[in-house]
Symmetry: C2
Subunit: 189 residues, 2 copies
DNA sequence: ACCTGAACACCGTTCAAGT
DNA sequence: ACCTGAACACCGTTCAAGT
């Protein structure tokens, strides 16, 4: 049905299908039997490619982590001035927080150990990135870190609100700009 | 084992056991068969008290929502000056964000519909409460709302970081005071 | 090398039968 | 009114057997 032809399936095919299911229905939708049906194969065959369901989830996460997170930092880093980078980061984040269904699903599944481990790496990297920008702007390291934690918390909080109370986030471009500016100034001395 | 005597079980007993399991092992630990074993009964008997597992979760959430959230707002509301209330709210929230295992588990399960519904009620209430304080302090309603959204986002973000990257949050009282003050000033003009 | 099909374990749900 | 015990469905996992 989903898989035309009957070429052999690769681990990558399974990981991609898992990522789609994750975005659509959350972690619980990453179920081997339904995925096998969608891929037109049997669940027995799954165990040739992966040790177990946890390994499938890890593979899907690795794909997503590389594609998603790296891309954002690369885009933002193309800006020269650190203040501009910080502002651009928040604009990007507030625009997209509500739209990355995979990240929303992951935040909602933060109690699964492999997901917790990855979210932790991402959180650390984001905090360190924002703190670095603030240091470049001349802020002492300790203060930069505290403020970076606040900044990253705002991001995660927006993500959370986008999921549980989306109407509380600004709908118009105008309102969104206000929020971006307010958030930006929040982090400066 | 857990249940001495062999008094009859009430729905309340099941809800309380579910809440404990939720705090200890997350939503997936709220499983009827293991709970039945812990309560010294059979899973068949569970269905006398509840329609299904979702109803059990809802009952556990209702218990927690009333005990937890109402208590915080009541405590904070005992302060007279709105600025003091806001400051106290953040102090409370930053101290306890890392310690409420049920709330952490719920945030991690925000993709389940009944949990999403409750988290949404709580988020709305928190935003409205903070916005109200800011209005009392003389802030125009629209700005108060935007800032309240940022404030509540910071709270949810702290909660998230407390779960996935706890060492990023301040460990000493001194650092925590800095964070409380920084957060507090963030919300003021 | 890769897949199938049957088997088993675990948990949610139903239900007839017990007290 | 409340509980038991057996039954069934669904999904994860294993494995012998196929190509």
């Amino acid at each position: 049905m989903a898989q035309e032809g009957n070429r052999k399936l690769s681990a990558e095919d399974w990981a991609q299908a898992a990522l789609n299911a994750l975005g659509e229905g959350g972690l619980s939708a990453v179920a081997i039997e339904p995925l096998a049906k969608r891929l037109g194969t049997t669940k027995g065959s799954f165990y040739w490619h992966f040790k177990d369901r946890a390994a499938l989830i890890e593979a899907a996460l690795a794909t997503w982590e590389q594609l998603g997170t790296d891309a954002v930092i690369a885009e933002v880093d193309s800006e020269a001035d650190p203040a501009d980078r910080l502002h651009r980061l928040f604009a990007h984040v507030i625009d997209y927080a509500a739209h990355d269904r995979v990240e929303l699903a992951l935040l909602a599944s933060a109690d699964q150990p492999p997901i917790a481990a990855m979210l932790r790496r991402i959180a650390d990297r984001r905090i360190e990135y924002v703190a670095g920008l603030l240091r470049e702007m001349g802020m002492p390291a300790a203060e930069a870190r505290t403020r970076a934690v606040v900044g990253v918390s705002i991001y995660h909080g927006f993500n959370h609100l986008a999921r549980v109370a989306p109407e509380s986030l600004p709908g118009t471009d105008e309102q969104r700009k206000t929020l971006v500016d307010a958030t930006f100034h929040t982090l400066l001395p």
